[in-house]
């Protein structure tokens, strides 16, 4: 075993940053195949695992980059002078993790030192872990079959956001935040551009060798207004779709064009009267409804939750396995898909972290719960013979497990417009953007706020109201849906860091939908 000192020494001699750049550099020969150097390292892990009695092994080498830049504009202490505070951060992480099955039990180990010797050592560590735990397993693991793939894949983007100068990024976000803060009545403004990339190599003992590169973008623009006299503070954000894309998505977000709207709407929000609570119809825009889909449908249809694997932390699910195929989870209008292939989806990737080719599958058809999100070691527990490709680990040092694919609500008929939905409401609320969100551990009882709320009276959108939240029970809420706008209004929003698992991991996931209407929902007055 390597000692601590030799670990540092080996690290210093390995020139591993150069290795990271070389391993994940541009393809020099066949652009459809993984880097030969990565494949050699994959062979080391597989060979070492087999030699030591593993019935299965996979290696993931990962390089992750997170760049975050932006501005906070807020007043100096005791004056009206605005401090313009910039921030620029660029974080990199590089390393590998090995997963093995020995005696029907998983073992995992990870290290930041990417060398052949360390991969062999860590593979043996993973085997030690598996052996130690095998005595306390309930039943041996079983993996559903998967084809062996040798492939290289890159997510779609036109302009690499990391190649855009920081100067251009700061200039854009500075101009947008300055525009939001232009009215002195706006207390503070915040704008940021986030860029994330994942370079991943996967090799398994079943013959797969897969290299993938994913780029995601996260723009953000926010304003706060304060009424000191009455002790009120209100928020307004520009809901920009986070997505798997390049710099072109930032250009299309029209941050500068939307800044004046945010400026005026935050002041309107500050002056808005409190909502009159009670049962009301709600019309929810995609910038808001994505989060309700995520929490109530996305998480409740995870198989690992339903089977009790997450009982200690994230929770279980009210959708127990006997409900699959027969439980009415919504009205006939509700058709929901799990989909890691959809354009610009945050969890879109060609292969999951089990090496399974990703797919699109129905979760809800005409209101009936049809399928769970699955991975290789759990699909057989509900009698399925293949995984739906929902395995993901958020780092080279994390254990892959079941994570949410993009889960989206199909649009309604072509002819249905958001105005059609509003015109059918006598007393209701239109909600844009996400706010406070909370749901119980079985995904029944939820409560959501929002970013902006407009009263609907007599079929017309009226002025803004404030302090709104709505509370419902998941099946009741989705059964109360009686209108979904057409495909022209369908948008995809999402979460960059959905949490689950122990040790906790994050996942980026998108949820597309069109504006939708729900009848007689319990609307609350907060504060």
């Amino acid at each position: 075993m390597l000692t601590r000192r030799s670990f540092i020494g080996a690290s210093a001699s390995a020139a591993s940053l150069a290795a990271a750049s070389r391993l994940f550099g541009e393809p020099t020969q066949d652009s459809t195949k993984p880097s030969p150097d990565l494949e050699k390292l994959g062979e080391v892990a597989v060979h070492e695992a087999k030699k030591n009695g593993a019935s299965y092994a996979d290696l993931r080498i990962g390089r992750y980059r997170n760049q975050f830049s932006g501005y906070r504009l807020s007043p100096e202490r005791g004056s009206n002078i605005t401090d313009e505070v910039p921030f620029v951060t660029d974080q990199n992480s590089f390393g590998f993790g090995v997963r093995v099955i020995v005696k029907g039990q998983w073992g995992f180990a990870a290290s930041p030192l990417v060398t052949s010797e360390e991969i062999a050592r860590i593979t043996r560590e993973a085997i030690t872990v598996a052996k130690a735990n095998a005595e306390a397993q309930s039943k041996p693991l079983q993996l559903v079959p998967v084809k062996a793939y040798r492939d290289r894949w890159t997510s779609k983007f036109e302009r690499d956001p990391f190649a855009i100068s920081m100067d251009e990024k700061l200039e854009l976000i500075h101009s947008a935040t300055m525009s939001v803060k232009k009215d002195p009545k706006v207390f503070s403004a915040f704008g940021a551009l986030g860029f994330q990339s994942e370079d991943k190599y996967f090799a398994s003992s079943e013959g797969s060798s897969i290299q993938q590169y994913v780029v995601r973008v996260y723009p953000l623009l926010n304003a706060v207004a304060v009424d000191f006299k009455n002790g009120i503070s209100r928020n307004r954000s520009y809901s920009v779709e986070p997505q798997t894309a390049g710099w072109e998505a930032i250009a299309k977000a029209n941050l500068l064009e939307n800044a004046p709207r945010i400026r005026s709407e935050v002041l309107e929000h500050l002056a808005a009267p409190p909502v009159k609570p009670g049962k009301k119809d709600v019309v929810l825009l995609p910038s808001h409804l994505w989060l309700t889909i995520h929490e109530s449908i996305g998480h409740s249809t995870e198989l690992d939750r339903a089977l009790g694997y997450e009982a200690n932390y994230a929770g279980t699910s009210f959708l127990t396995t006997e409900k699959m195929g027969n439980f009415s989870l919504g009205s006939e209008l509700i058709n929901v898909f799990g989909d890691r292939t959809i354009d610009r989806g945050l969890s879109t990737v060609k292969y999951d972290d089990d090496g399974v080719l990703t797919t699109k599958f129905p979760i809800i058809e005409k209101g009936v719960f049809k399928h769970y999100q699955t991975i290789r070691d759990q699909a057989h527990l509900i009698g399925e013979t293949e995984s739906r490709g929902c395995c993901y680990a958020d780092s080279w040092s994390s254990v892959p497990f079941q994570r949410m694919p993009n889960v989206w609500l199909a649009p309604g008929a072509e002819t249905v417009t958001p105005d059609d939905l509003i015109s059918g409401v006598e007393d209701g609320i239109l909600i844009d953007g996400d706010g406070s969100f909370s749901i119980d551990q079985q995904r029944y009882n939820f409560q959501f706020g929002g970013d902006a709320f407009w009263e609907i009276k007599g079929g017309k959108k009226r002025g803004m109201v404030s302090r709104v939240a709505y509370q419902a029970r998941t099946p009741d809420f989705w059964r109360a849906c009686d209108g979904i706008s057409g495909p022209s209004y369908w948008q995809q929003f999402g979460a960059p860091s959905d949490g689950k698992g122990e040790p906790a991991q994050i996942n980026a996931v998108s949820h597309g939908c069109s504006p939708s209407r729900f009848r007689q929902i319990n609307v609350l007055l907060t504060d």
């Binding site: 601590r4 005791g78 910039p86 397993q137 406070s436 119980d440």
Partner: protein, 444 residues
């Protein structure tokens, strides 16, 4: 584990590569083992080493860039410095930048346990087996998580500051459910010493809660007297700590702001009962704290609420310089001081109320009032005439943690609790009145 000399060498290397006037380096190294279990068997587990070197570079005109790398090679460190300096060169001057701190005298903390530092997964397996044995014996189903970590952290800068600290930590948490899925119990332990964890003892708590909960009665939402167990209280004080920022309070955005635009706050005023004292105590031997806080100033014991009086607000270095105040430590490592009561004493003193095991999915409803929402989880029991009678359903609640403490009438002694979103704090059980349960949750 990275030694003090090894951390010093890394920091010296980074500073040696730096060309800008200011360079600050933060090194973190962790070795951890963990085991997850569910459905009465171990599911996944792992051993890993992770490390990060964060570099912050600043120009003479206060432009800063930040970069982080995970490799220790000279090439990687050099690249990290270059990236931070390139970003600084392009960035704009930061009007809130503070000059680099000179050398500091950091306190010595005693939260390193050598057994925990060298333990591996195999010594945690017996604790898991004890929980599983309890589950099987009672025909219940256990799921949980045990972990231990050894950590080395170091800080340094061009102005001569250097600090190094090692600490360990561990926890065992598990949920006990009946096979029908109609009842759930939970228990937790966390300590800097792995040997303090005791699966055999812990499982008695979760089994008791789960078996009591099999015949749940339906209870309506409303305002109730509540006895909150330490895990629930730890979440509430953790969220309360987030709201003690001086900047928000002085700029009218906090429950600690007085109405009007004068910048006046409730600092120094008695907002809570005499029995409430909430402090940060980085020296508490049960907490896995570090000698410095986010500002890199030495951590200090700091009272936020003392005998009901708002004693301090959190001033970072910048805001403190503007306010003419001394910067404070940040509101972490919280200890809510208790009284010499047992949980049984608390239960005996309640005529009608609820006993709550823990809270779940807490989020802010209104930042200004610090009104939160969340749910109860893994055991809610009715108390009638000083005795626990029936298990009841879960609830959603909308409440302010400040108001919960304002209505607190009695406490036990605190114990350490580690929660996922609020970290490790020392929290007692307490009685609070009129807790606002807004709706029933069908979840078990």
């Amino acid at each position: 584990m990275l030694s003090e000399q090894e951390v010093k060498n890394i920091i010296d290397q980074v500073i040696g590569y730096s060309k800008l006037p200011e360079c600050e380096v933060y090194v973190s190294w962790t070795e951890d083992d963990f085991i997850r279990f569910a459905n009465n068997g171990i599911t996944t587990s792992g051993y890993r080493v992770t490390q990060q070197i964060s570099i912050s570079s600043t120009t003479a005109d206060k432009r800063s860039g930040n970069a982080a790398v995970s490799e220790l090679t000279p090439e990687a460190l050099k690249e990290g410095v270059k990236r931070a300096e390139d970003l600084a060169a392009i960035s704009r001057p930061d009007p809130e930048d503070m000059p680099a701190l000179p050398a500091q005298k950091y306190p010595k903390l005693n939260n390193f346990d050598s057994y925990t530092a060298s333990a591996r997964g195999d010594v945690m397996v017996p604790q898991v087996k004890a929980v599983l044995a309890g589950a099987l014996e009672n025909k219940l189903v256990a799921a949980g998580f045990i972990q231990r970590s050894a950590n080395a952290v170091g800080v340094g800068n061009k102005a001569g500051l250097f600090g190094y600290h090692t600490y360990t930590d561990s926890s065992l948490t598990h949920t006990m459910r009946n096979p029908e899925g109609t009842s759930s119990g939970w228990a937790t332990q966390s300590s800097v010493a792995l040997k303090d964890l005791n699966g055999e003892e812990q499982v008695k708590v979760s089994i008791d809660k789960c078996l009591r909960g099999t015949k749940r009665k339906k209870l309506d939402a409303g305002k109730y007297t509540m006895i909150m167990e330490p895990a629930a209280v730890a979440d509430l004080i953790g969220w309360l700590g987030f709201a003690f920022g001086a900047r928000d309070a002085e700029q009218g955005q906090s429950f600690l702001s007085k109405p009007g635009d004068s910048g006046a706050t409730f600092l120094g005023e008695k907002l809570f009962p005499e029995i409430i004292t909430l402090r940060s105590d980085p020296f508490h031997p049960k907490l896995a704290s570090t000698p410095w806080g986010p500002s890199l100033l030495p951590n200090e014991k700091t009272a936020w609420i003392e005998k009901g009086v708002v004693k301090n607000l959190y001033y970072d270095r910048f805001w403190a310089s503007k306010a003419g105040k001394k910067p404070t430590t940040s509101p972490g490592n919280l200890v809510l001081e208790g009284q010499e009561n047992s949980l049984a004493d608390l239960i005996a003193s309640v005529d009608r109320g609820l006993l709550v095991t823990r809270l779940w999915y807490i989020r802010v409803l209104q930042p200004k009032t610090w009104q939160l929402t969340g749910l109860t989880r893994d055991g809610v029991f009715l108390i009638e005439k000083g005795k626990v009678t029936d298990a009841v359903n879960n609830f959603r609640w909308n409440e302010s943690p400040a108001e919960v403490l304002q209505r607190t009438t009695k406490l036990t002694q605190p114990m350490r609790v580690t929660n996922d979103e609020t970290g490790s704090n020392m929290a007692p059980s307490l009685i609070t009145t009129d807790f606002n349960l807004t709706s029933i949750s069908d979840a078990v």
